[in-house]
C-alpha cells in the first residue's frame, strides 16, 4: 500500500460541512493561481498547440486555393477532374498570380512532385493574363496536366490536413497508391539525425554523470563554507550566455587556437589537430554547458543522505567500497535520474553548440527546425520536426517517471 493510501484510510470520513468548506478553499486556491494559469495557457500551451497544428496543416497554401479546395477533395482521383473543377483551379491560380503567391504554391507542389513546378507557374501566368484560360486551354498547356497523377498531387496540396510532413521527419512517404513507404536512401536524413541527436545526448549525459557524480560527492564531503565556495565555481558558467561560452571554445579549440598552439609549441604534435567542426568538439562544448544541470540534482540529494547509513553499513561488516556501492549510491539514484533526465532532455534540443562547434555531419534535430524556418520558409516542416522532438521528450519523461516512481517499484 502506498503512504498516501495509509494516511487516507486513517482519516475519518469528511462531514458535508467540512466538504463544503474544503471546496471553498479549493476554489479560492484556484482563483489565486488563475493569473499563472492564464499566463501558462497563453505563453506555453497555446504556442505548442499551434505548433502541433502547423505540423499537420498548411494554412497559407489552403488559403490560396479557396475555390478549388472543395472540388479537388471530392474528386475521385481516377479520371481527369471535371471542367468545373478545372475552372475553379484556374480562378485560384489567377488570383494567386495577382497576389504574387503563385511561386509559393509551385514550391510546395514541387515538394510533392518536383516536375510540376514549371507547369504550374506557366499555368498561373496564363490564367492571370487576359483573356485567361479555359479548362481545355489548361489541359493543352502541358502534357502533365493530362495525367491524373499531377492532379492527385495538387489535390493533396489542397487538403486542409496532411501527414506528409510528419512522415517526412521519419523518412517515410506515401507512394502512388497512398501506402506509407520509406523514402529512397539518398533522401533519408531524418532518422540519421534522430539517431545522432540521441547518440550525442546520451554521450553528453554519460560524460556529465561520470564527471559530475564524483565532483558532487567530493563537494558534499567538505565543510559547509567550502561547499558554498565550490558550488559558486560550479555555477559560474551560468553567468555567461551559452553563445559566449560556445564561441570561447571555438577560440580555444580552433586550428590556430590555444590548445593547438600550446601542443605545437611543446612539440607534442607536428601539425594542428582538428578539434572544432567535429563531433568531439560538439560534445565537449555541450558537456561544459550541461555539467551543472547534472551535478546539482545529484548534489542536493547527496546532501540529504545522513552519514549514519554508511557508518551503519560499516558496523554491520561492510568494507568501505561495499558500503559506498550498496548503501550510499542507491540512495543517490533519484538525484542521478533527475540530473541525467534534465541533461538528456536539454541535449535533445541543442542548436547553438553543434551549429558552432560541430561539422555538417554533427547537426542535431533542432538544426532542421531552424533550417526549415530560415532557409526553406516551410513552417509546417519545422513544426513537424519540433513535434517529433516534443513527443520524444515526453516519452522520455514518462519512462523516467515510471522508473523512479516508488510505488511502481514497490509492486514490481
Amino acid at each position: 500500500m502506498t503512504q498516501a493510501a495509509i494516511i487516507a484510510s486513517d482519516m475519518p470520513p469528511a462531514s458535508p460541512a467540512a466538504d463544503r468548506s474544503g471546496r471553498r478553499k479549493r476554489r479560492n486556491a484556484l482563483l489565486l493561481v488563475l493569473p499563472l494559469l492564464i499566463f501558462t495557457l497563453v505563453s506555453f500551451v497555446a504556442p505548442i498547440v499551434i505548433m502541433l497544428a502547423r505540423g499537420v496543416s498548411e494554412p497559407e497554401i489552403t488559403r490560396l486555393l479557396p475555390l478549388s479546395r472543395g472540388p479537388l477533395a471530392t474528386w475521385d482521383g481516377t479520371a481527369l477532374p471535371s471542367d468545373d473543377t478545372l475552372a475553379a483551379v484556374i480562378a485560384d491560380l489567377a488570383a494567386a498570380q495577382r497576389q504574387r503567391q503563385a511561386a509559393t504554391i509551385a514550391k510546395r507542389l514541387a515538394a510533392i512532385r518536383s516536375d510540376l513546378r514549371q507547369p504550374l507557374l506557366a499555368a498561373a501566368r496564363a490564367a492571370a493574363t487576359p483573356p485567361g484560360l479555359t479548362p481545355e486551354g489548361l489541359l493543352a498547356l502541358d502534357t502533365v496536366w493530362r495525367d491524373p497523377a499531377s492532379w492527385r498531387a495538387l489535390a493533396e496540396l489542397a487538403q486542409p490536413f496532411t501527414d506528409r510532413y510528419l512522415l517526412q521527419t521519419l523518412d517515410l512517404t506515401r507512394n502512388a497508391s497512398g501506402e506509407i513507404v520509406s523514402v529512397p536512401d539518398n533522401q533519408a536524413i531524418f532518422l540519421a539525425a534522430l539517431g545522432r541527436t540521441f547518440g550525442i545526448g546520451l554521450a553528453v549525459t554519460l560524460i556529465t554523470l561520470v564527471l559530475g557524480y564524483p565532483l558532487a560527492y567530493f563537494i558534499c564531503q567538505q565543510s559547509p563554507g567550502l561547499q558554498r565556495f565550490m558550488l559558486l565555481f560550479v555555477l559560474l558558467p551560468f553567468w555567461t550566455s551559452v553563445l559566449v561560452r560556445t564561441a570561447a571554445w571555438l577560440v580555444v579549440l580552433q586550428t590556430n587556437g590555444l590548445v593547438n598552439d600550446t601542443l605545437m609549441a611543446l612539440h607534442v604534435i607536428g601539425e594542428p589537430l582538428k578539434l572544432v567542426y567535429t563531433r568531439s568538439g560538439t560534445i565537449l562544448g555541450m558537456v561544459h554547458i550541461q555539467l551543472p544541470f547534472t551535478l546539482l540534482p545529484i548534489y542536493s540529494v547527496m546532501q540529504t543522505i545522513s552519514p549514519v547509513y554508511v557508518r551503519a553499513a560499516r558496523s554491520l561488516g561492510a568494507t568501505p567500497t561495499a558500503a559506498f556501492w550498496r548503501v550510499y549510491v542507491p540512495q543517490t539514484l533519484p538525484g542521478v535520474a533527475a540530473g541525467c533526465l534534465l541533461t538528456f532532455i536539454l541535449c535533445l534540443g541543442y542548436y547553438i553548440t553543434p551549429a558552432i562547434l560541430g561539422g555538417p555531419a554533427d547537426q542535431m534535430l533542432s538544426y532542421y527546425v531552424a533550417y526549415y524556418l530560415n532557409n526553406e520558409i516551410n513552417w509546417s516542416m519545422a513544426a513537424a520536426v519540433s513535434t517529433v522532438l516534443l513527443v520524444l521528450t515526453i516519452l522520455f519523461y514518462i519512462a523516467y517517471s515510471w522508473f523512479t516512481d516508488p510505488t511502481a517499484k514497490a509492486t514490481r
Binding site: M1, Q3, A312, T319, P330
Partner: protein, 357 residues
C-alpha cells in the same frame, strides 16, 4: 572484555570531548553511559565502534588492541539513534545485509533472517520498507539487524529517544530481556537517568568529557561520588554553605538554613565551600513536639499533587527552596499555603560535597 585505557579525544585543538577515560566493561554486562548533552557519550561509543579514533590512549577488546581497527572488522553491533535502517532496502534485505557482507550462503541467510525477525516478533513485515513501519517497529528491526551476526558486543546510542514514553518503557524491558536471553554485552548511551537505572548492571556517568563515577544503579543513588552526581541522579536538595568542621564521617556545614549536620561524601577542608545534598524523600514535616538532627523552619511555598504522592516546596531564608516528598496524600491536605512549617531530616540523610567538584 572492553578496556578503555587513558583514552582522550580532542576535536580541533581545544574541544576535549573525552578526557583520560579509564573504563573496563565486563562480559555479559549491561553498561550505560549516562550524562548531560555534550558530555562525550557518543564520542566514547564512536571510538569503540571505530568511527572515530582516540587522540591518545588505547582501546582493547578481549585483550587485543583495537584502537585502529576499521569498524567492519570489530564485530560490534551498533544501533543508532534514528535506527539507520537502509531506506532503499526491504526489512529482509536490511537484516540480510550483515550476513551477505560476511559471505554467508543464501539459504543460511534466509534461515537466520527468519529466526531473527521472530526474535523481535515482526515476522509478517519482512517485505516492507523501513518507511512503512512505525517508530517502535523500526527500532526493533534495528536491534535485530545489530544482533543478527551474533556480535560479542552491541552498542546503542540513545536508541529509544525517538519513541514516546510508554513505548520507551516497554522497549527498555524488552532490550534488557533480550540481553539476558542472548548473553551479550551491551553498552548503552542515554541521557535519561531513569532509563539508565532501569536497564543497567552498571552506570558510567559522564560530565564535560570526564568519567565521574561507575557503579551499580543503587550505589549511584545512595552513594553519589560528588555533588554533580548527587544533583544529576534522582532529585536532590542542594544547600550551599561553608564547612565548619569535618571529622571522621561527619561534617557540619553552615548554610542559609542554619548549621546542617551531614555525612562526609567527599574529602573536604574546613572553611572551604561545600554543598549538602538531601533527597526529598528523606525530609519529613515535623510536628510541633518533634525534633530531628537537622531542623529547619520555613514557609510553605507550593503544594504539588503528583497522583501517587505529593510534593511541597518550603521556602527557607531568602532564596532557598527545599522540596519535600510526602508519601501520605492526606498529609498535604492538612497544610495551608504560606503558613509556617517545620521540616527535618536525620544527619545520615545529608551528604556533604565540595562545592565545585
Amino acid at each position: 572484555m572492553v578496556v578503555f585505557d587513558r583514552v582522550t579525544k580532542i576535536f580541533g585543538s581545544r574541544v576535549h570531548a573525552v578526557h583520560e577515560l579509564n573504563l573496563t566493561v565486563g562480559r555479559n554486562e549491561f553498561l550505560t553511559l549516562l550524562g548531560p548533552s555534550g558530555s562525550g557519550k557518543t564520542t566514547t561509543l564512536m571510538m569503540l565502534a571505530g568511527f572515530d579514533s582516540p587522540s591518545s590512549g588505547r582501546i582493547e577488546l578481549d585483550g587485543q588492541p583495537i584502537t585502529h581497527l576499521p569498524p567492519n572488522k570489530r564485530e560490534m553491533g551498533v544501533v543508532f539513534q534514528n535506527y539507520a535502517l537502509f531506506p532503499h532496502m526491504s526489512i529482509a534485505q536490511n537484516l540480510a545485509f550483515p550476513l551477505e557482507a560476511r559471505g554467508m550462503g543464501k539459504l543460511a541467510i534466509r534461515d537466520r533472517v527468519q529466526k531473527s525477525i521472530e526474535l523481535v516478533r515482526l515476522g509478517d513485515h519482512l517485505e516492507k520498507r523501513p518507511g512503512q513501519l512505525s517508530g517502535g517497529q523500526q527500532q526493533r528491526i534495528a536491534l535485530a539487524r545489530a544482533l543478527i551476526f551474533q556480535p560479542k558486543i552491541v552498542l546503542m546510542d540513545e536508541p529509544l529517544s525517538a519513541l514516546d514514553k510508554q513505548l520507551r518503557e516497554r522497549m527498555q524491558l524488552e532490550i534488557k530481556a533480550l540481553q539476558r536471553q542472548l548473553g551479550i554485552t551491551v553498552i548503552f548511551v542515554t541521557h535519561d537517568q531513569s532509563e539508565a537505572l532501569v536497564m543497567s548492571d552498571r552506570v558510567a556517568v559522564f560530565d564535560h568529557g570526564r568519567l565521574q563515577q561507575v557503579c551499580d544503579p543503587r550505589s549511584l543513588y545512595d552513594k553519589p561520588a560528588n555533588a554533580f552526581i548527587a544533583g544529576f541522579i534522582g532529585e536532590s536538595n542542594m544547600l550551599a554553605g561553608t564547612v565548619m568542621s569535618c571529622q571522621g564521617g561527619a561534617t557540619n556545614v553552615s548554610t542559609a538554613a542554619g548549621m546542617i549536620a551531614a555525612r562526609t561524601g567527599q574529602e573536604l577542608s574546613v572553611g572551604g565551600a561545600a554543598v549538602v545534598s538531601v533527597r526529598p524523600e528523606a525530609i519529613r514535616i515535623l510536628r510541633d513536639d518533634e525534633t530531628a538532627a537537622n531542623t529547619v523552619g520555613g514557609t510553605l511555598q507550593e503544594l504539588i499533587f503528583l497522583g501517587d504522592h505529593s510534593r511541597i516546596l518550603v521556602r527557607v531564608g531568602e532564596n532557598t527552596l527545599l522540596s519535600v516528598k510526602l508519601d501520605d496524600k492526606n498529609a498535604a491536605a492538612a497544610l495551608s499555603l504560606h503558613a509556617p512549617v517545620r521540616i527535618g531530616w536525620s544527619d545520615a540523610d545529608g551528604l556533604a560535597f565540595a562545592a565545585n567538584g
